[in-house]
């Protein structure tokens, strides 16, 4: 077992007495792990609050085909997110968010291939895979920009409000899809995740820049690719949960 081998240093001293790395990773990677754990707490807080508020609203119980937007119950996600770009009026439930999920998983794969190339000191391969990862991140952000625009602008039919007018789309106070909390959680959860993707793209570009200028070759290792890779996989991981709890369930 790796933990016992790390703990047996010499003559009665434990691995925790200092001078060794009991967790078997460098300081930077360890700190990245614990930062990600704390970041997971933040996302969990958002998702737990979402779970509480959603389950405290009445659920729609009728047939999916007969579903109408209403303030009285939580909307069915597949009837909210059913648009794709360039096909106005075509109902394609969850297709666009499926494409976004696919893009993010693929960019996670290219990231782990960049890490593998870094282990081999293969600068050209790290450059190639980092570029693909950055491209995937930008593609995801573009999709999200479209998704937000569509959500905010609204569908062809809006919700009648008390003054006799019709409300289209969503903001933090009103939305046509359901209770105000529904749009609020959409904005906060996907927005917080999208901001993580954005900062991840910035970090990835920094890594790419340092790779191109030969910083990691001079340093003798590509561990920074691994650290930022951990962050990027975490962003993908969060999306897996957002996808399930916000779009599927």
């Amino acid at each position: 077992m790796a933990s016992t081998s790390a703990a047996t240093v010499d003559s009665g001293r434990s691995a925790w007495d200092g001078g060794t790395s009991p967790m078997g990773v460098s300081y930077g990677k360890l700190m990245m792990w614990f930062f990600l754990l704390s970041d997971a707490f933040t996302f969990s807080a958002l998702l737990i609050t979402y779970g509480l508020v959603r389950s405290s609203h009445h659920a729609y119980t009728g047939a999916v085909e007969a579903f109408k937007f209403s303030q009285n119950y939580w909307p069915i996600p597949e009837r909210v997110y059913e648009a794709i770009p360039f096909f106005h009026g075509v109902e394609a439930p969850l297709v666009f968010v499926g494409i976004m999920t696919f893009i993010l998983i693929m960019s996670s794969v290219t990231m782990v291939l960049a890490v593998e190339a870094g282990h081999r000191m293969d600068r050209a391969a790290v450059e190639k895979w980092m570029l693909w990862t950055i491209l995937g991140g930008i593609a995801f952000l573009s999709c999200q920009a479209w998704e937000w625009t569509h959500f905010i602008m609204g569908a062809d039919y809006g919700r009648s409000v008390a003054e006799g007018t019709t409300f289209f789309g969503a903001n933090l106070v009103h939305n046509q899809y359901g209770p105000p909390d529904f749009a609020d959680f959409f904005f906060f959860i996907t927005g917080f995740h999208g901001f993580h993707v954005f900062s991840g793209v910035c970090f990835n570009f920094l890594i790419y820049y340092n790779t191109v200028t030969g910083v990691y070759d001079r340093r003798g290792h590509y561990e920074m690719v691994e650290k930022v890779g951990l962050y990027w996989h975490f962003v993908d991981l969060v999306w897996v949960f957002v996808f399930t709890f916000f779009y599927l369930v």
């Binding site: 077992m1 614990f34 389950s55 001079r218 599927l248």
Partner: protein, 108 residues
């Protein structure tokens, strides 16, 4: 070449074919699970069973991403459990609050 001024003592190793094949296999598993989730989303009626299947498949996907892509499965056990144990408590917190929310919906 533009890179000629760099230190020349760097030895570039050939691609680790076996490892790369393993990574693509994990990616394939993630893709298949996601496709399967889509299948269920449109063929099953809403209910506790459907939600349970979604949650189970999400945990499987999370395990593959954290274990393989983030390499946690191969780290020292102390590190592995330092990350996992807090998240188990958080998962319980989610269950508890959703249960609480369902109780609130009864009195609304």
């Amino acid at each position: 070449m533009a890179h000629s001024e760099e230190p020349s003592n760097i030895t570039v190793l050939p691609p680790n074919k076996e490892k790369i094949r393993h990574l693509w296999k994990v990616a394939g598993i993630l893709g298949v699970i996601t496709a399967f989730e889509f299948l269920i989303a449109f063929t099953m009626h809403h209910g506790a069973l459907k939600t349970a299947i979604f949650v189970a498949m999400t945990i499987v996907k999370a395990a593959y991403i954290v274990g393989e892509f983030m390499h946690l499965r191969y780290e020292v056990k102390v590190l592995f459990w330092s990350i996992l144990i807090p998240m188990i408590f958080v998962a319980w917190m989610l269950v508890a609050f959703v249960y609480e929310g369902m109780a609130i919906s009864l009195v609304r």
